[in-house]
């Protein structure tokens, strides 16, 4: 029989991976609770914030257990959320011992992300699609896809590894707008507005916004409000980035239609 500590470590690691990769608070707490209960710990308690997990267990006759985990939220890897979800389901069906579960979690944590090339292509595809649905034409979509790809390369190599979220979003908005203006000036695309709208789309905080609503609905107000603030802040920063470039272009006047 495994010790309490081993069981709790597995449960917490599952919760950690979920929270880090874009799961709702409810799912994190429920998974920790279900895994620990399956392995015989009825007394576990988990409290989760948008960037931290607090867990305790205090079974009769055993050492009390407590852990606080700081979880900086990274970019969303929903495949890992799905994998942990599946693992938790299979643990409850009795298919895993504690040490097997730990190995499986290690494998999930190391699941390879998409290569940069695929991600940039996906951003280009997304930008083209959104430039078109927000009202642009086919040439605008084409221009937006190039600008969107340039923005995503900037995100991958500069803003994500080196910049804070706010500065990354502001400068991201600037890069997307500048790239769009450049492509527009070179003669591709007809309406600059829709090119820019398409280009910035990969900055939109879709994960934070959707999860914030889900968390608030589940009455996890604290985490939900923090995530909503995060989403609004990013929206605001993108707008500042776009606005700054337009304002400067307007001062320099004449170069680009405004």
């Amino acid at each position: 029989m495994e010790g309490e500590r081993e069981v709790m470590d597995v449960a917490i690691e599952a919760g950690h991976i979920l929270l880090e990769n874009g799961a709702e608070i409810f799912r994190v707490e429920e998974t920790i609770y279900r895994i620990s209960r399956h392995y015989g710990i009825e007394s576990s308690n988990a409290f989760t914030l948008s960037n931290g997990i607090f867990v305790t267990a205090d079974s009769v006759g055993k050492e009390p257990f407590a852990k606080i985990l700081h979880v900086p939220v990274g970019s969303a890897h929903l495949d890992r959320v799905a994998a942990v979800n599946q693992l938790s389901r299979e643990i409850e069906e009795g298919k895993f011992t504690v040490s097997q579960a730990r190995e499986e979690l290690e494998r999930i944590r190391k699941m390879p992300g998409k290569t940069y090339r695929v991600q940039v292509l996906a951003a280009a595809l997304g930008s083209a699609g959104f430039a078109y649905i927000y009202g642009g034409g086919v040439t605008d979509a084409l221009a937006a896809s190039i600008a969107g790809a340039i923005l995503y390369i900037y995100i991958l190599y500069v803003s994500r590894p080196h910049l804070s979220k706010m500065v990354g979003s502001i400068t991201g908005g600037m890069v997307a707008t500048l790239a769009s203006m450049l492509i527009y000036t070179l003669g591709l695309g007809e309406q600059l507005d829709y090119i820019v709208i398409g280009a910035v789309v990969s900055l939109i905080p879709g994960v934070a916004f959707t999860n914030a609503i889900r968390d608030i609905t589940d009455e996890n107000y604290l985490a939900g409000v923090v995530r909503m603030l995060d989403a609004l802040l990013v929206f605001f920063c993108i707008a500042i980035g776009v606005g700054v470039v337009y304002a400067v272009a307007r001062q320099l006047a004449g170069g680009v239609r405004l």
Binding site: A23, L78, D79, A82, E92, G126, G129, I133, V200, D218
Partner: protein, 157 residues
């Protein structure tokens, strides 16, 4: 409005986001379907109502299909919901607000900004209400494929 082109673009955009969020590859078609279906309803409803109401209609469909697929495929609803909702998020509204502020057209800026807020509220309402639909509704027709015991979550998929 070229409806077929609109839907195609929405599907493309949604799949693009699915890749960026690392959704498992086997779910790309379902994600595209969710995003396309939501946008189709938005486009069909829009001529008769406001953008906020059309967004609400689109969101209801997006959440409905996300939950349906999550239950049927036994995976987190997040996989479909996050990429699928993105076409409806008021990205355009935020852009126009910023644009009108910079060009000092404050009337238009506040109008667009307020509209973006209304759209966001519509999305919130759509998500909140469709998540209240009991889980078993989405199980209809799956006869005994799953008992309550092995379910991942009692409240939501």
């Amino acid at each position: 409005m070229n409806l077929a082109g609109q839907i195609l673009a929405a599907v493309m955009g949604t799949v693009g986001f699915s890749v960026m969020f690392s959704v498992p590859r086997e779910y790309y078609p379902l994600c595209g379907f969710v995003g396309g279906a939501g946008w189709l309803v938005y486009c069909l409803v829009l001529p008769y109502t406001s953008t906020a109401e059309a967004t609400l209609a689109g969101t209801v469909l997006v959440v409905f299909f996300s939950r349906l697929f999550a239950v049927r495929r036994k995976c987190p609803v997040t996989l479909f919901l996050i990429p699928g909702i993105i076409p409806l998020v008021p990205g355009g509204g935020v852009y126009w607000t910023a644009y009108y502020i910079v060009t000092e057209q404050m009337d238009l800026a506040s109008q667009k900004g307020f509209e973006a807020v209304k759209i966001a509220v519509a999305i919130v309402l759509g998500i909140v209400f469709v998540f209240q639909v009991p889980q078993r509704v989405f199980r209809i027709g799956t006869k005994g494929r799953e008992t309550g015991k092995t379910r991942q979550e009692p409240k939501q998929p």
